[in-house]
């Protein structure tokens, strides 16, 4: 009953704000006494930006806060009669923004393809549910987007640009006081920043790498459930997901309620994968569940051996390639073969997610053959180089002999002349 009453109250607030907001938007004009007065008295909001997306769309202060921006008298412009709303509470904020952002008829004037389900999504999120239940610390619209310095998400200065999202989320999730009542901990940002994804995004500015929202969602942000992890990781790591789904491990993962990808790779602190994760020593992930001699142990050892052998041969071919490049010989054919060998190695490492040593061995055989071919081609080039060097030595010797013979001949001719 209490919950129904709260929802009814919010619906009423939402309807009221919508009506007032629409009236204010219709009454939009160029005169903005709010701005004039706030600038004159130096009481502008701390996060105010001239480039704010609303300012750009000529939505004035009254567009959100209500009131009459044409009235010279403050009491009149900020009166309830003029539709003044003032500063919304945190609980009112989704409806406050939603009065425009949930109306496609209004929003498509500015952006024809803009989604208008943010508020609906928000109330399905952990943030939204907590806000509805009366949690006053939980994130709402302006926590992520700011209030008066909102920039398009494509703008690298925006708090919701992929470059800045980890820090934006960390403002709350890294705050021990705010997180004290949750079981989350506060190390997500540090974990992420040191992960393979975090390094790519933060250090190398690779926007192909996921930020927080790519796994957790935006307005509907929620922790991914065990059943959705492989789908989330698989949205980028497609082959890994396909191999995993059809593997024995994938089927076991479903029935035994393992956290699929997360079970081995972790979540925020996912490190760059290494062959050593498969090795049957202290670094092995497999040994967290498997033990010496069981089927998983044998499979891990077999796959590790195949990958290391293929990689060693590939590295040997790379050393030969560098050798012939230093010698200035033709490396085009070898480079082409090594491209295929590299591709094979990538596919081989992905194939580990089949957890099938037979498939891995077959793929490894192709890779070894390619690297062996590159080494053989490099051998031909090196032998050609040696042949040229020998030819150069022989010709140098011939010239030295010729010079010496000419010298002796001249001496002989001189000696003959003297004796005559």
């Amino acid at each position: 009953m209490k919950r129904t009453r709260i929802i009814k109250q919010y619906l009423l607030i939402f309807a009221g704000i919508t009506l007032l907001g629409t009236a204010n938007l219709l009454a939009e004009s160029k005169v903005n006494t709010c701005l004039d007065c706030h600038v004159e008295n130096d009481i502008m909001p701390g996060d105010f930006l001239e480039e704010d997306v609303h300012q750009h769309s000529e939505i004035s202060c009254a567009g959100c806060h209500g009131g009459d921006p044409e009235a010279e008298d403050m009491d009149e412009s900020m009166s309830a009669d003029a539709g003044y709303i003032g500063i919304p509470s945190r609980q009112e904020m989704p409806a406050f923004c939603g009065k425009c952002h949930s109306k496609i008829e209004y929003m498509r004037v500015f952006q024809p393809r803009i989604p208008t389900d943010q508020v609906d999504q928000y109330y399905t999120s952990t943030h939204g549910k907590k806000l509805l239940s009366g949690d006053k610390k939980v994130a709402m619209c302006s926590s992520c987007h700011t209030s008066h310095g909102i920039l398009p998400a494509k703008d690298t200065r925006s708090s919701v640009h992929p470059f800045n999202i980890p820090q934006t989320c960390n403002q709350c999730h890294g705050d021990a006081d705010l997180m004290a009542s949750t079981s989350h901990g506060t190390s997500q940002y540090e974990d992420y920043a040191g992960s393979v994804h975090g390094k790519a995004l933060i250090e190398r500015s690779d926007t192909g790498s996921p930020a927080c929202n790519d796994c957790h969602g935006n307005h509907g942000a929620a922790p991914p459930g065990a059943e959705s992890i492989s789908h989330i990781c698989g949205s980028c790591h497609l082959n890994n997901m396909e191999f995993f789904k059809t593997s024995v491990m994938g089927q076991l993962s479903e029935s035994a309620d393992y956290h699929s990808c997360e079970q081995c790779h972790g979540n925020h602190s996912i490190s760059e994968p290494s062959d050593e994760l498969l090795n049957v020593n202290e670094s092995s992930l497999c040994l967290e569940c498997h033990s010496d001699g069981d089927e998983g142990y044998v499979a891990a050892e077999a796959m590790y051996t195949q990958i290391r052998q293929t990689d060693s041969l590939y590295q040997a071919a790379i050393i030969r390639l560098k050798d012939i490049q230093i010698k200035g010989m033709n490396d085009v054919d070898i480079q082409y073969v090594l491209k295929d060998a590299k591709q094979n190695l990538i596919q081989l490492r992905t194939m580990v997610h089949t957890f099938d040593p037979v498939q891995v061995k077959e793929k490894a055989a192709e890779g070894k053959e390619l690297s062996a071919e590159a080494i053989s081609l490099a051998g031909l080039e090196i032998s050609e180089f040696n042949q040229r060097r020998m030819g150069f030595g022989i010709s140098t010797l011939a010239f030295v002999l010729l010079a010496f013979a000419v010298f002796l001949k001249i001496r002989q001719i001189d000696s003959n002349k003297k004796s005559d």
Binding site: V332, Q347, L402
Partner: protein, 146 residues
């Protein structure tokens, strides 16, 4: 017959002369004979007659040091794109059924204009110009790629 100093010098002179001449002529001869390998620095490449490429097929060709995928998507349309995936440099393939370019390493997908449309590739594939000259298909590197 006595092999005296004179004969020794003449032999030395002859051998040195022949060796010296061979040292000059061999590189000249090698220069005149065309090399077996393609010149790596190419800006244009003839890849074959139009009839050599069936409709809805592709071929990976060597454009100097760079593999290029030539796709004949329909009767009159040839496309040439860098065949190296922009994710981790794997060689891409043309999927006839989907009429898309696929990278088998991580399932990256590009459309026929080379635009990355799915999976991990961060950038589109570089585009090469294709022209038909005397029924021969020519691939040319576009200026901004040079």
């Amino acid at each position: 017959m006595k092999y005296g100093r004179r004969e020794f010098i003449n032999t030395l002179l002859g051998a040195g002369g022949i060796g010296g001449l061979a040292s000059i002529l061999y590189p000249v001869f090698q220069f005149l004979v065309p090399p077996e390998v393609t010149e790596p620095q190419v800006s244009s490449l003839k890849v074959g007659a139009v009839g050599d490429f069936p409709v809805n097929s592709s071929k990976i060709v060597r454009f100097g040091r760079v593999p290029v995928i030539l796709i004949r998507s329909d009767r009159d349309t040839f496309k040439a794109l860098a065949a190296t995936c922009t994710h981790l440099d794997c060689i891409v393939q043309y999927n006839q059924a989907r009429k898309q370019i696929i990278c088998a390493c991580h399932n990256g997908v590009y459309d026929l204009s080379g635009k990355n449309i799915s999976g991990p590739p961060p950038k589109p594939l570089a585009v090469y110009s294709v022209s038909i000259v005397d029924d021969q298909v020519m691939i040319t590197q576009e200026k901004d790629l040079a």
